[in-house]
Amino acid sequence: MLEFFVDPILRAPTIGSMLMGLASGLIGCLAFLQKRSLVGEALSHAAYPGVVLGLVIAAAFFPGGISAAILVGAFLSGLLGLFVIHQMEKRLKIASDAALCFVLSVFFGVGVCIASGLQISHALWLQKIQVFLLGEAATMMDGHIFLYGGLTLACVLSVISLFRFLEILHFDPEYAKAVNLPSKAVHTILYILLMVAIVVGMRSVGVVLMSSMLIAPPSAARQWTTKFSSFLILSGALGLLSGFLGNALSVWSLAPLPTGPMIALVATAICLFSLFFAPERGFLPKLIRVTHFQLRCKQENILKALYKKRTINPNPYLLWRMRTKGWIKGEKLTPEGYSQAEKLVRLHRLWEVYLVHMGQESDRVHHSAEEMEHILTPEIEIQLQALLDNPTQDPHQQPIPGVSR
């Protein structure tokens, strides 16, 4: 594991990818909360013509500074794209997604046009540009670490110092206006940070896949936490992890796999895992909870049927569960089962009384009570009894068991 940080072949790609993951994970949170995650996609594509033009200008006039020129070009081109999006939304009143798509396709198309022109005249330059389309982490050098490290540090420090601004601005924009928070300035800084994150990431994952690193870590992190600070930290950490694992997997794999797409795949896998398995918000735990509730309802219905001495055609699995709970012995109710059934009937009839009290007709209240008997809590039961003055009979003249006078 340590060789990834020490071996001269591996350390630049590894650290570079991790820095990229951290920066994009952190900044992606903010676009995610604004529900404008696709801005990252549009801007990374809008950066492409800047890459091409930066290369062309640098190669023609000052060949030594090609890398710097490409980054600056990408940054400026992205900001131009941002400006166009903003103008389209505010001045021309175009819908947000239409403006994003327009900028994404037009800018990227311009970039591809120029690049294909280079195919004929300067093929070598075209190769340098291709590096930024899908990324090429394997050829990153130590010098890159310092450059990207500096940019990532700037991102992290900005987010930390602007933390309270960001919290207020994203949670309650009206309150932010009311307390004179410099909203416009903070938004501008955020978009600049977004461009910085994209520029840092272009070299490892490329322009095309960059948006995955802006969306997947925050989506994953959101599943695990409900605190803003934890959300930012976890998202950055997941981005960092994706950068490292993607790089490691591309080295450990049997056939040489490209690093950029591996990083994107790892980030997506983490996101899918979080969407499925996160304990509170995950799809599977929710499914389990729902199934559990439905099974409990079915069991409680069987209990009621036994209590009312009706014939039942029970599912042997459900009977087995009820036996393990101690509600029945064989096919008869135990004392615990009996009191549980009594409670259900009591809740059912209390609810019917409540609905009639609220003005419903007595022959229409049964269905709702059938559902509510499984849901009402002891606290609500006490409130109902107090509110309805401890009734002893339901609207159908049936006794309400266990209500004390």
Binding site: L33, S161, F163, R164, F165, E167, I168, H170, F171, D172, P173, E174, Y175, K177, A178, V179, N180, L181, R222, T225, T226, K227, F228, S230, F231
Partner: protein, 253 residues
């Protein structure tokens, strides 16, 4: 002492005149209800107070000074429609936002600040919910949290836009108790309110508004049938119609 002084205030919103030459004064230490039909300009009036909207003519002062100079003495509790309820934030952190106005957000939160926030939560009866995520609360509970945030701002004038909207009666009662406490501490409250039946119970003074000021003063004097007809009756219909016409003419529809 006059807390709020409004002089010939006219405000346009989206090219439509919303407030016409509104002119009144509010003395200190009262709970004032701002009442009027939909579109009467009540929210617009509060937003103009805190500088979110600029008037076409006229102005307003607070404690004898323009808003910018006494910003820290005024707390504004907006309508809750713009809040992102899925935002990952706990109740205590929402309340702590109230410190922003006084100290700026670049200062770290200290233990004393958290204690103050908890005190404010306790005052509105929400202390047990301090670590809950904001979306887990009911409408009434959320409103109480926002009131706690306003309390933390420690302002002398509180402007609230429909604090009782979508709130159950028990919460409304609890909130009013806090308002009365604040009044006893010498603070002034201006509250936009929509439920005409509770106006007499809640407020000392009433400002009756329908784009122009109908009347302003103690409840018993202002909240009369005659005034209500002017605000809500058939004569008021013309106000809405003319506003619609102005909007279409000025925007070229």
């Amino acid at each position: 002492m006059t807390v709020v002084c409004v002089e010939q205030l006219s405000v346009h919103y989206d090219k439509t005149p919303v407030l016409w030459e509104v002119d009144f004064e509010i003395p200190v230490g009262l709970i004032v209800g701002l009442v009027g039909p939909n579109g009467a300009g009540k929210s617009t009036l509060l937003k103009t107070f805190i500088g979110l909207l600029r008037p076409i003519s006229g102005g307003c002062t607070f404690f004898g000074k323009p808003y910018k100079e006494v910003q820290k003495k005024v707390a504004y509790v907006p309508q809750r429609t713009s809040v992102d309820w899925n935002f990952p934030i706990h109740v205590l952190d929402v309340v702590l936002m109230g410190l922003y106005g006084k100290r700026g957000p670049l200062k770290w939160i200290r233990k004393e600040d958290r204690a103050l926030a908890k005190q404010a939560l306790d005052r509105v009866g929400m202390l047990p919910f301090a670590s809950r995520q904001i979306s887990e609360l009911s409408g009434g509970q959320q409103q109480r949290v926002f009131l706690a945030r306003a309390l933390l701002q420690d302002a002398d004038l509180l402007l609230m836009d429909e604090p009782f909207a979508g709130v159950d009666m028990a919460t409304e009662k609890a909130l009013m108790e806090v308002f009365v406490q604040l009044k006893e501490e010498g603070k002034t409250l201006v509250i936009v309110h929509h439920d005409l039946t509770t106006v007499k119970n809640h407020f000392d003074w009433v400002i009756l508004l329908n784009s122009c000021l109908i009347d302003c003063g103690p409840v018993a004097e202002v909240f009369t049938e005659e005034n209500l007809k002017k605000a809500y009756g058939s004569a008021a219909y013309l106000v809405t119609e003319t506003k619609k016409l102005t909007r279409s003419k000025t925007s070229g529809v």
